[in-house]
């Protein structure tokens, strides 16, 4: 190895090592914002499903207006464009603080199909949520299954 190439190699090594260290300690702001956005979005699903679920399980009385409002929110949430929520490099193998598995970015078509299935189930729930407890209960099941279909493959197991 010539001395010049040795210097170049050393320089590259330093660059790579410091780059990796930088990546580990400073989250890219776009990545951080995407993770915050999608986790907030999931919280909103959870909040509205909790209203319907509490009625479905008999923990609170069925209220047609409240049920219709929550189902309307779910339907709206499920159709929002999330493209900026999922920047490259924001998967659980690249950064801390997320359970979004890299498979999401490898199987874009399947993820979109599952998102469409959720939107469909949420629209069906929205159509009946205000019409009665039994109708709402029956339509909530497929929404839960749509949540699970995605979490089955694309959400990292937690440490529980």
């Amino acid at each position: 190895m010539t001395s010049i190439s040795r210097i170049v190699a050393a320089g590259l090594t330093v660059a790579v090592v410091t780059g990796a260290a930088f990546a580990a300690s400073h989250l890219d702001p776009i990545v951080a914002a995407g993770i915050t956005a999608r986790q907030s979005h999931m919280k909103l699903y959870q909040h509205n499903i909790a209203v319907l679920g509490a009625m479905a399980q008999g923990n609170i009385d069925y209220d047609a207006d409240a049920a219709a409002a929550a189902a309307g929110n779910l339907a709206a949430l499920s159709t929002l464009n999330q493209s900026t929520y999922w920047p490259l490099g924001s998967d659980s193998a690249s950064v801390e603080g997320t359970r979004a598995l890299p498979a999401i970015w490898e199987n874009g078509d399947d993820v979109m199909a599952k998102a469409a299935a959720l939107a469909e189930a949420a629209a069906a729930l929205n159509a009946v949520a205000g019409s009665g407890l039994a109708e709402m209960q029956a339509a909530l099941g497929p929404v839960g299954q749509a949540c699970g279909a995605c979490h089955q493959t694309y959400r990292k197991r937690d440490d529980g």
Binding site: Q46, G53, T98, R99, G141, G144, Q145, Q152, D159
Partner: protein, 309 residues
């Protein structure tokens, strides 16, 4: 010199006797040929056994969502410290599946882990739980399996390296770690007994929720106390009362809908489990919940608060 030879002979003889004894003790032991005699299988009742036993979760093709008549084409991969097991085709196809097996062949595979050719099966197949099943339930299950669609996809060989690829050794595993009876013993009421049957026998919950020793035997002293995920990251949760503080009604709701008490949704393997569980009558789910409340509580270190998506 002659004396030495005689000693050597005696040693060899003793070794052979020991080896023969070992082979005899660890031999594949199928059910008695008449074990199913007098039992007629009811496919309708078998559908409930099939759901409770979770057969579809492993034996459907990868990525397939559970429908009413699942195609059990096999092909799902199960990584473990011993290698990767690939679920076989158990559809009714006479060549690729179990269509050509007799009822007693099937029952011996399910309850004894012995193949129709008399080989030990790997305990990735939970015969170690199913051996506690009632013979009538197994007869019903077999009748139901025969009613499901055929699929010609060939089964793939397991990807298991030396020494775990020696099936003969599985007899030793069975001898050491085989289920001898109920883990939760004592005086139980009818609902709790039903729950125990569903959890310990058909549901084989302990296969994932109980930790294993280095040879893959269940640590029965830590029954359902949670375990590392054999396929990689994360843990399978502790579902003893020391780890799960949900009410019985909340456990039933989770098994029916996949929603936790705070309306997060189930993920991972539990999604397939719930696709089976919600097909069971509510009183069966209530029995499971009642049983889980009786399991000795094991307190594990509190998990880190989990990050969201």
């Amino acid at each position: 010199m002659l004396k030495r030879l005689r000693q050597l002979n005696r040693l060899i003889l003793a070794g052979l006797v020991l080896a023969a004894l070992g082979l005899w003790l660890t031999r594949p032991q199928p059910l008695a040929p008449d074990a199913l005699d007098g039992l007629a299988g009811d496919p309708l009742a078998g559908a409930a056994v099939f759901a409770a036993a979770g057969c579809a979760s492993c034996h459907m093709a990868p990525g397939v969502v559970r429908g009413d008549d699942p195609v059990l084409a096999g092909g799902r991969r199960f990584a473990s410290p011993f290698g990767t097991f690939i679920a076989p085709n158990i559809s009714s196809d006479p060549e690729a599946g179990i269509g050509g097996w007799s009822d007693i062949d099937l029952a011996s595979a399910i309850m004894r882990g012995v193949s129709p050719t008399g080989e030990h099966l790997y305990p990735a197949f939970p015969y170690n739980a199913y051996l506690l099943a009632e013979m009538q339930d197994v007869a019903n299950l077999i009748a139901y399996l025969r009613s499901l669609p055929a699929d010609a996809t060939p089964s793939q060989p397991h990807e298991v390296g030396f020494p775990f690829n020696i099936r003969l050794a599985l007899g030793g595993w069975k001898l050491l770690f085989g289920t001898r009876g109920w883990t939760l013993d004592g005086a139980l009421g009818p609902q709790e007994r039903r729950g125990r049957y569903l959890v310990e026998a058909l549901g084989h919950c302990a296969e994932c929720h109980t930790p294993r020793n280095r040879l893959g035997g269940l640590e029965r002293g830590l029954w359902l106390a949670g375990a590392p995920n054999p396929a990689g990251e994360g843990r399978i949760p502790n579902i003893t009362p020391g780890g799960l503080d949900w009410s019985e009604a909340q456990i039933v709701a989770y098994l029916q809908t996949g929603f936790t008490p705070d309306f997060d949704s189930a993920g991972g393997e539990m999604v397939d489990v719930i696709a089976n569980m919600r097909r069971l009558p509510e009183q069966d789910l209530a029995a499971i919940a009642a049983y889980l409340k009786l399991v000795p509580p094991v307190v594990t270190a509190a998990a880190e608060p989990s990050a969201g998506n």
